[in-house]
Amino acid sequence: MLDKALTGGRRYWTWIFVLLAVIGVAVLTYLKQFNEGLGITGLSRDVSWGIYIGQFTFLVGVAASAVMLVIPYYLHDFKKFGKIVILGEFLAISAVIMCVLFIFVDMGQPMRITNVILYPTLNSVMFWDSVVLMGYLALNLIIGWTTLGAERKGVKPPQWVKPLIYLSIPWAVSIHTVTAFLYAGIPGRHFWLTAVMAPRFLASAFAGGPALLILLALLVRKTTKFDPGYEPIQALGKIVTYAMFANVFLLGMEFFTAFYSNIPGHMHPFHYLYAGIEGQGKLVPLMWASSIFAVASLAILVFPSFRKNEKLLAIACVMLFTSLWIDKGFGLVIGGFVPNMFEGITEYWPTLPEAIITVGVWAIGLLVLTVLYKVAVTVREDTA
């Protein structure tokens, strides 16, 4: 089926080559980082994880969100998702590949990555995270490819794929829960030491992922002859709305516990992120932008009449996605490191090489997504 990605119009190839060019620049920049070390990033001994790990965390959520299509379609026989469930599965594949790459570019000794498998360490959450992520990638590759292949031949998917689909549901929840455990089990990082970390991860994932999927579905309709349909997009819109309310609610819980308890260590990261401490607050504008986007997107989504207007829905999805991208892809990680273990402030901001590498990983993800969607869309166009 991959051959279908090799035929396309001028627009398709232009897009592919633009992505390849961006990837090329990023690869060269990565070689510089590989040779000179992570010192070319904005990271430091106080803020030892930054935008790479933030993006990784955010994208695990995007990957997990495919389950929001799988559950209604396969468990509740919600037929309307039949057309777009493949878009969710292929988005998951692309997201997991980006996750793996973000981990890779963050490592000090990437050539030793196999040590995680050679010396499996059951007490390390990172070991489990790599296990569940690889498993999730395999599940989605097998499920997506098999069901699409069956559709191309006009037959039903083979029976053996059904158990894998059911398995993929708890598995999707597991990848984001385990990713939350990377943070939530660490003593001494007040911002992360919270039992609602995993629930909030899931809520923000089930809002952000489907929001991205809505935008992608609208884009597919605009650029190809395949129409994902009005109703599936509306159904996704409802999911996004509920999940985003849950996410904002859980964020509110964090504020209450920190400020009503009045425990300094719990309040400091929030002070740093939303107000700045001792005049240092590089993330303050970003965090407020995230909050404003969150409220604005909900103000649109909560009213069915607004949501039913696809233009307004798209605007809401862009704002919501941006809001979560800032909150989870950046603020979450930095808030754990500032103030540092000595209650001092060391600020972090990504450097240009770091930003280029980050964009490059996204470009690889988009390339994978484009190729997979091209295959899926062409199969749909052929069988239509």
Partner: protein
Amino acid sequence: MSINRRQFLKLVGVSTVAGIGGAAVFGGLRNSGLEASQTSPDPRSLKGKRWGFVVDMSKLKSDEDYQKCIDACHSIHNVPDMSSLPEEIRKRQEIKWIWKDNFEHTFPTAPEDEYQNKEMKEKNFFLFCNHCAKPACVRVCPTQATFKRKDGVVMQDMHRCIGCRFCMAACPFGARSFNWRDPRGKDDNGRPFIKPEKENKEFPTRMIGVVEKCTLCYERLAKGLQPACVEVSNGAIVFGDLEDPNSEVRKIIAAKYTIRRKPELGTQPSIYYVIGGGEHAG
């Protein structure tokens, strides 16, 4: 039974994956007790169940008292000297195994007290790896590059470390340093971080991209010597076995009021600070 090429390749693929995965899992289960030494131990080597320090603050008076301990450690362990880098970069990227900081930074979760006496507020404390009994860094490391020895030393295998820095996120004491740049390299003006004439050839230098920290002078303990900082501290840092009730460290802890850094986190640090002053029970 005959199989075609496609089936054969499938079989080979599946059995390879199963083989690698299986070996990895069962290999991991066997390694319940870690023992790093490969040769028979030196008969002079110091034996203990839980090595620890007591730092007697009354004996640390001048900056030199601190500096000679820091220099002793950093020089024998080839810790790169980044003082020639611009201040802003040095602070972010420096490597330190032992250093000093004020009360507020050393004990940030101690009750905030605006009325605390000035002397204590301005006093500097020694900081190093706490060699915790329940180390968070060991719990999170995905490759067992950091592990706990039977004598309580929290070790760091710089040859296995993948540089993921999970341990740095987990350590509540900021005791871990990452090699953001090549420690064997030079600054922009061509000054090496480890001067060739000062390099200790008996201790390995590190490579770029790995985490390092105080390893309680395991290489000296193996030869029957006390840690380097202890040796030059004029009694300010006392070394001993916390599990041995007759050890000097235990006697001091029994006789004096001592505090540890962030004990509420349950990592059980093995470094005690005597802050009251006066002579310790010997």
